[in-house]
Amino acid sequence: MSGIIETAGLSRFYPGDGAPVRAVDGVDMSVAEGESVSVMGPSGCGKSTLLHLVGGLERPTAGTVTIAGQRVDGLSEAAWARLRRRSVGFVFQAFHLVDELSAVENVELPALLVGTSRRAARRRAMELLERLGVADRATHLPDRLSGGQQQRVALARALVNEPVLVLADEPTGNLDSHATGEILRLFAGLREARQTLLLVTHDPRVAASADRLLTMRDGQIVEDTRLDGGLPRQAVLAQIAGWEA
């Protein structure tokens, strides 16, 4: 069965002092529809770059990326933008809300971009903000929201068009444990909606919430572990804890 995400020989090199820096080095990966996959590894191992390559935020040096059966590694910026607005939702560690737009305006933006009417987009955005518990902050600019509130708004924005794929880069990196718990509950909801989640994290608790764990080192996937019954989660967590020590 082909996955919603397929990569083959995916690589991204950056110019270095001598030899190029191999941020992502020949990654072959397949993620099935509705699957929740976390990516872990030490800092600088290429986790975020892999996520950005899958979402078209960076261009691969070599290799292919296929999303829902469509080769996307050669798409133009405009074509990528059109694909993202319908099929890909992003959540970042730094939230990346447009600071000139209020919370609800940020959330409704992708809906407006796909042509949803202003009224319908606003209704859908408010529903999501309500569900995420930040409806009372809807008209506030991002500068006036806490980190947890901003991340919930960012998540609402990622979900507003019900994309088949959600890419999350350290979504809880700037959040306290309470806010992290809230975000994890929201991610659990994605699985129920058969939305695919590719999640980069340093946090073992967040990683352990996924169906599958990809472990990266030096730009390569060195381990692919199913977390839904295969290995005991505690063993994975011990391994993860070993990196951090």
């Binding site: 979402g55 078209g56 935020l57 910026e77 405009a78 447009v98 202003r118 500068d143 924005r157």
Partner: protein, 612 residues
């Protein structure tokens, strides 16, 4: 001492890390300092040339001049009184040497086949103690019929020794060519001057056709600095009602200043251009500094977090830009010195090859002061604002986020406009400070466009309103050429102003695009295409440009009319021209801002997301 070393080190490091900004500011400042330096030096070159002749001829500290028309001759009593007063001046207290009274008359002559008015000056064959003309060719007057021609007249009309000039019907051989400091050089100053001896002068007067008579004395004082006081003390009473003659005294400074009107006009034009360039440079530098502070806010926060005071943070930026200002002043002074002989070389009023005057402390101080003032005006406010921002806030964010939501911004979405336009309007309305800053940077540019158009129209009117007599006067072609060159200098200056205004617009656009790059990258992560982000950016920038048009058009008219005088009439542009400026400038600006927006839009998203 340590603090100064730290400030110097940080400033030097910033200059090395951001050479582009430093070079841009340096270029803009150099344009202003060079123009100002040139303006100050060009006048000095004229002074220097005149002073050389004045020294070599033992020129007067004070000249007294009396003249009247042949058709309105004053009464004999008046003539006798004025002549006596003139003669009395030669023995006045403070006078150490004198020559004259010298009689002169204006009549019609023929030089190299051209009929023209000439001023015939009657002089002694013996050298005068004061103001003896300086021979460049041939010999001075003797007892014979020969005449001596003023150097400008001889060279312009291509008269050689031995040629004949005809004055009042009498053919007179040219014996010599000489320079003088008491009148300007032909053809800038007309009529042309011819020196003759007493018998020749009497024959010319007897021949009839004299249009005006004059007489003058030339005085050397014990103290040249007393000239103004001497003139004030011996000012003659004005003619009584019904009498038509002129009598007056001039100091050597007045003679000098009046000897090179063409260069003075160049200098005035250059001062005006230099001031406007300075103002534009303030706008450019302000944009550079403000954008730099916005981009570097995190670095400022880091510096403050490790114990650098807000004052020291400001000093780092000031030290950096003051270094650039000092360099620009030095380049401006040097370039002014080098270009002065070239520019002064087009003058018709100078004797010999023009030389740049030595750099005086006053000139250097003025140029340095202008460069420093430009930098201070542009730097202090944004630098202080950045430095006073709370350390935590500086560390937490990159660019300053908007403080409040705008109801008008919300309304923009209800107008049914395309989404990119709505996004652009929201961006502009929610960052009014940024819009105003952009508008301030562009306003002078719009004013320059208006001034350039006004100048073109006024020069055209000025040139077409010349009377036929002036155009056909002897040497008129050469005078017209100088006028053309002056116009060329003014146009070149206007061109420089427009170029700097365009550079300013580009700087505003590039920094605005850089400032917006992160937000546009975010928009692209949620599905906005590069074209949509570009349109949003252009719309956001147009607000500032429209404000700039609203303020810049009247400002241009005001600035133009401030410098307008008898020769340069107040601005005469049609309403249609102003309307065209208000339409075309925003369109051109939109095209300019679209370029950096498109460049940023074509880049991958990730670098822009992490951009500081």
């Amino acid at each position: 001492m340590r603090a100064f070393a730290l400030i110097a080190r940080l400033a030097w490091r910033n200059l090395r890390h951001r050479p582009g900004q430093a070079v841009m500011l340096l270029l803009a400042l150099c344009l202003a300092t060079t123009t100002l330096s040139l303006a100050l030096a060009v006048n000095g070159a004229g002074d220097r040339s005149w002073e050389r002749v004045w020294r070599d001829t033992n020129g007067p500290h004070v000249q007294s001049f009396f003249g009247y028309g042949a058709e309105r001759t004053p009464s004999d009593a008046t003539l006798a009184k004025v002549r006596a007063d003139l003669a009395a001046l030669t023995t006045a207290p403070g006078v150490v040497a004198a020559s004259g009274p010298w009689d002169a008359m204006v009549t019609t002559g023929e030089v190299a086949g051209d009929r023209m008015d000439v001023e015939v000056l009657v002089r002694d064959p013996a050298p005068a103690a004061v103001g003896q003309p300086l021979l460049t060719e041939g010999q001075w007057l003797d007892g014979g019929d020969g005449v001596v021609l003023e150097e400008g007249l001889a060279s312009t009309m291509r008269v050689r020794l031995g040629d004949t000039v005809t004055v009042a019907g009498q053919a007179l051989p040219v014996r010599g060519v000489a320079m003088t400091s008491t009148t300007g050089r032909f053809p800038m100053y007309q009529p042309g001057r011819i020196w003759v001896n007493q018998p020749t002068g009497e024959r010319i007067q007897a021949g009839g056709g004299v249009e005006a008579f004059a007489s003058s004395v030339e005085l050397r004082l014990a103290q040249p600095g007393d000239a103004a006081a001497f003139v004030a003390a011996h000012a003659p009473p004005p003619p009584r009602r019904g009498e038509f003659f002129y009598v007056g005294l001039s100091t050597w400074e007045q003679l000098r200043d009046g000897s090179h009107d063409d260069l003075s006009a160049f200098a005035i034009a250059l001062v005006g251009i230099g001031v406007l360039l300075g103002l534009l440079t303030i706008a450019t530098a302000a944009v550079l500094v403000a954008s730099r502070m916005a981009a570097q806010i995190r670095q400022v926060g880091t510096l403050k977090a490790i114990g650098v005071t807000p004052g020291q943070v400001t000093m780092v930026l000031l030290a950096e830009y003051l270094t650039v200002a000092g360099l620009a002043a030095a380049v401006g002074l040097a370039a002014g010195q080098m270009l002065t002989p070239m520019l002064a070389g087009v003058s018709l009023s100078l004797y010999g090859s023009p030389q740049a005057p030595p750099v005086t402390w006053e000139r250097a101080a003025l140029v340095v002061a202008v460069a420093v003032a430009v930098v201070l005006l542009a730097t202090v406010r944004p630098a202080l604002r950045g430095a006073r921002r709370s350390t935590l806030r500086s560390l937490a964010t990159s660019a300053r986020p908007p403080r409040r939501s705008s109801r008008v911004g919300g309304l923009a979405s209800r107008l049914g406009l395309p989404l990119p336009v709505v996004l652009g309007l929201r961006s502009a309305l929610r960052r009014p400070g940024r819009v105003l800053a952009n508008a301030a940077g562009l306003t002078l540019g719009v004013a320059m466009v208006v001034i350039g158009l006004g100048l073109d129209r006024s020069v055209h009117i000025f040139m077409t309103e010349q009377t036929p007599d002036e155009v056909e006067a002897p040497g008129a072609e050469i005078v017209a050429e100088v006028v053309d060159r002056l116009v060329a200098v003014v146009y070149a200056g206007a061109g420089l102003l427009l170029a700097l205004a365009a550079v300013n617009a580009v700087v505003v656009a590039v920094f605005a695009a850089r400032d917006s790059a992160r937000n546009h990258a975010i928009l692209r992560t949620v599905g906005a295409t590069p074209r949509q982000t570009m349109v949003a950016f252009v719309v956001a920038q147009l607000g500032g440009c429209l404000l700039a048009c609203a303020a810049g058009i009247p400002l241009g008219v005001l600035l133009f009319n401030l410098v307008a005088d008898d020769d340069l009439a107040p601005i005469r542009l049609t309403f249609g021209t102003y309307a065209a400026v208000a339409v075309i400038v925003p369109l051109v600006y939109a095209a300019i801002v679209a370029v950096p927006a498109r460049l940023f839009g074509s880049r991958p998203v990730t670098p822009s997301l992490s951009y500081q």
